[in-house]
Symmetry: C2
Subunit: 589 residues, 2 copies
């Protein structure tokens, strides 16, 4: 490089007029005007107008005439005021231009497969293949900067609060609780595998036992789950653990941290403390354990009504221990058959057998299950839901959980579709008092709702063996704008209690010892009471950046089939490598 920059494209102002500057950057646009070539030169910091006049040496002019978009160039020139007619108030360098005296071609560019200034000229898959070009776009430049600032803000806050950043290992041991592990074959120990951590859970607990009473880490974790729309096989987590504390300590420090992050990255104030809601209430009112409280439309218990109707299904569901719940959609009686079919499809995806509904128009019930509603039952429903003209009501009659989840999903769907959400609002919420266990119908035993290290509510230990479903945990989730962005719990810190949990989960002693023996042993050498929390960093940043998918806030994301279209991974490996690992491929896709 002959001409190495001494100024940044975005930094030049009127105060630089008269100075000779050196700039390096990409050609954002070029236009020729009466023998003069104007180039908008771009770097990470902004754009500046660069002007090639006719009196430049011919060898330079020749190259200038052939400049392409995205070429990388170096110029040396004089900053001068633009003619008043061409001042651009929209950009911070809009009053000046740089008149080129010397020039160097640094790197030529072929035409890009989509326009850097117009991302939408490329499909998502095309842009993933050329991710290094997509990352040049204004949107991704901004998102990656927000992510950078969120990283710094988080660590700075936690360090100031005396948390210690401690790196936990990536090569650990497979413990198939919860999701599937990714594994790494060991060449030094043939036939054996490391597992990549789904979270540093056991290690952060060991660190508490070691006496590091405040730990944090922003760390990659790995989960080999069946892929869904917005999931990545590798993801980033803010991981926190504290000793000698209770729920309120974790919650307070988490709230302060989030407040700081919102302030530092997008200059938004969020108010503390966050509201709290029990799992029971969240499910009953919002049909979700991560309710979006930015809009109303709550679910109601309409069993009094249901019993009064002639609708046999309602009766039999209630008799069989099920529930009947309703969701009122205000002023929406004009929903078409097609609209309702769509919602019925959505309901079925969440486990409904069907979706009953009725319209309330001119003081009468119409369509759907209206024929089962007589005057008396109708009155009960009108009063309960406070129905007014043109309201639409959906009903779910099924088991408790499925009824609520289905109506909750319809609620979330309609909240977006009907534009009920103020996008500028940040709603925060703690959800608490989760059940410790949930029953896994397929495998026929209980499983942890969070993970097996979660402490039950002290007063619920007595139900552990007799009535496991009644046991509440000391877990808590943080929800922002209807998305769970963090969750944690107070942990068990005694071998005996941890063993009781494993037993309730039907894990054999042999398995317990093989997989968690080190932790149980550690509990016997002086384990402090402790607890913690983990935040999904990708999700958090997507909220900060106002993006719907986490792919927009990850520099090099994978597709929904866990592939990198850019580098072409995963890929086959050499026979030699396989042999060294003592492995044979039995099945290919």
């Amino acid at each position: 490089m002959k001409i190495k920059r001494n100024q940044l494209c975005g930094s030049l102002r009127k105060s630089n007029i008269g100075k000779i500057v050196k700039l390096n950057g990409w050609i954002n646009t070029r236009r020729d005007l009466g023998g003069i070539t104007f180039v908008d030169l771009r770097d990470r910091y902004g754009i500046v107008q660069v002007r090639f006049d006719n009196d430049l040496p011919n060898n330079i002019l020749k190259i200038v005439k052939q400049l392409n978009m995205e070429d990388v160039i170096a110029v040396e020139g004089k900053v001068q005021m633009r003619p008043s007619s061409s001042i651009n108030k929209k950009i911070s360098t809009g009053e000046i231009e740089v008149v080129v005296k010397d020039f160097e071609m640094l790197s030529k560019a072929k035409p890009t497969p989509f326009e850097i200034k117009k991302r939408e000229t490329g499909s998502e898959n095309l842009r993933l293949k050329y991710r290094y070009l997509d990352l040049r776009t204004e949107q991704l430049q901004k998102n990656i900067l927000i992510r950078h600032e969120a990283l710094q803000s988080t660590r700075k806050f936690l360090s100031n609060e005396k948390f210690m950043e401690i790196e936990t290992p990536f090569f650990i041991k497979s413990t198939p609780e919860g999701a599937r592990d990714f594994v790494v074959p060991s060449r030094e120990n043939l036939g054996k595998f490391y597992a990549l951590p789904q979270s540093p859970q056991t290690f952060k607990q060991l660190l508490m036992i070691s006496g590091f009473d405040k730990y944090f880490q922003i760390v990659k974790c790995f989960r080999d789950e069946d892929l869904r729309a917005d999931r990545q096989p590798e993801f980033t987590q803010i991981d926190i653990e504290m000793s000698f504390i209770d729920e309120s300590d974790i919650q307070k420090v988490s709230e302060k941290m989030l407040k700081q992050i919102f302030k530092d990255t997008i200059d938004k104030e969020i108010s503390l403390p966050f509201p709290k809601m029990t799992y029971q209430e969240a499910m009953e009112k919002y049909g979700s354990d991560s309710p979006d409280t930015r809009f109303e439309m709550k679910i109601e218990n309409v069993e009094d009504f249901a019993k009064q109707t002639n609708f046999k299904i309602f009766h039999s569901v209630i008799e069989n221990g099920g529930v009947v719940r309703a969701l009122k959609v205000k002023n929406s009686a004009e929903f078409s058959r097609k609209n309702i079919d769509e919602l019925t499809e959505l309901a079925k995806r969440y486990g409904a057998k069907g979706l009953a509904y009725v319209k309330f128009k001119e003081n009468k019930f119409q369509s759907g299950i209206s024929k089962f509603i007589d005057e008396r039952s109708g009155k009960i429903l009108v009063d309960k839901l406070n129905l007014t003209d043109n309201d639409l009501v959906f009903f779910m009659a099924d088991k408790w959980k499925v009824s609520l989840i289905v109506l909750g999903s319809i609620r979330k769907y309609l909240g977006k579709k009907m534009d009920l959400i103020d996008k500028n609002e940040i709603s925060t919420l703690w959800v608490t008092d989760f059940p410790l266990f949930e029953y896994n119908d397929e495998e026929g035993h209980y499983q942890s709702m969070h993970h097996p290290f979660t402490s039950p509510n002290e007063e619920d230990w007595k139900y552990l063996e007799s009535n496991p479903e009644k046991v509440r945990s000391r877990g808590y989730d943080v929800v922002i704008n209807g998305q769970e962005i963090g969750g944690g719990s107070i942990r068990i810190h005694s071998r005996e209690k941890q063993n009781r949990i494993f037993s309730a989960l039907n894990i054999s002693d042999e398995e317990i010892n093989r997989k968690f023996g080190f932790l149980l042993n550690a509990f016997e050498y002086g384990a402090p009471p402790h607890g913690g929390i983990a935040f999904g960093f990708d999700r958090l940043v997507s909220i900060l950046a106002g993006e719907d998918t986490i792919r927009e806030v990850i520099a090099f994301p994978k597709t929904t089939t866990a592939q990198s279209l850019m580098i072409g991974s995963p890929d086959i490996i050499d026979e030699k490598q396989l042999k060294e690992l003592g492995l044979k491929i039995e099945q290919k896709k």
Copy 2:
């Protein structure tokens, strides 16, 4: 927890006298004295004396009598002045004690397998098994704190310098240049594997192409190398890349960063700029590409002397293009046969066939090769090495590299053994002008000394095909106290030039395209000139902490056979897991 702390053990002072405080911690020591029990209570922040008087309720006294070392307890009590006879000026809380009013047992401890106050009561393997206890020791608490501070200092410095922290992916593609990759089988893409990064090299280059002109990351990397004494399969790296720069920019920012880290973590000033030395000079004078310049004892070219001796081996080595070098060990003629045998063994480990030596005593040459030295050749040697009474000289006559490496190893070994090193000194050094390639005798072709993305010195491109060994690279290493703690280079940023390098390395077009096609393509869309550096963070922290091995600065290290003795990894995995991955184990250990 009934008694949750409101003070830290290490924080109480005379100014707290009269206050009622709550403390939580571990029992560091206990002693009974005339019915009173004194306990030193420990947390991360220090130790405080806690006093249980006789007038406490019986139920508390009963438990207190049975307190063990490392039990975790909570106390509430009044801070009071110690009797002047028992003031301990050595600790910051030594003037006060806490007289217990209320007490809570938080967690009992079994006797620990080694003493927390005396690490050396446990072997390293025992301590690795109980790493969570080893981490309670003063030494590891201190080291992990230094590591934490180094992490914060590094990121703060780089963020302030406008570097952006960008996370690169862990699931990438196997590119068997250099060391072996660890691989991860993909369940979603059976028969295919991800590779874990040996470094984010290609990704940081892509980020430069994306326009993020200053990137950093502190990141885990993975290398499946044959294990050596102080190596870990997973390690941490400070990774840096910049655009529109040359060597001096990277070197300046690296020096400033290191200065800041030394200042912030151990309050040590290091002076800038670091001295520079070419690879050629480092090898010729110190027999190492990472010379320890804290002590003299330089290697000398003694070929003039060698030619004058009657020692045939010297003559034939020189005739065959080899070299003769000498290392003077001052005032060491008293070295025994055993000492010299040890050094000869060391020399052989580094590839020597033997190790010639001679002693200079009372103006005469004795032992070793003295019989081949006549007066004339002796005079040349005395003058060249400036020999004085009782000096010892070692000679290597072999190929250039092996001769120097061997003498360099002896130099390093003796520097330590003879205590020639001032442990308080921090010596810094840039080593530059490395050869771009080295010849791999086993595989019969050239390989990159750093990696294939390193740019050759501009003026040496002309030798690339004709005389590859003559080509110097634009690489640079940072050496601190004789340890390479970082290395980097200016990179190639053109497809055509990168292809020339791959050709010189004998990599087929097909392989190039499969493995590096994405990077070569990216070069064609406007790639800025760029370069970077990476620092071995574990090694750097070990220097800050004054430790010889990186295991002492990693919270949960692996053994030299890449195992975790604590959690027992790697381990077998379930048949079900293997089947899901489409794999079969062909060979076990």
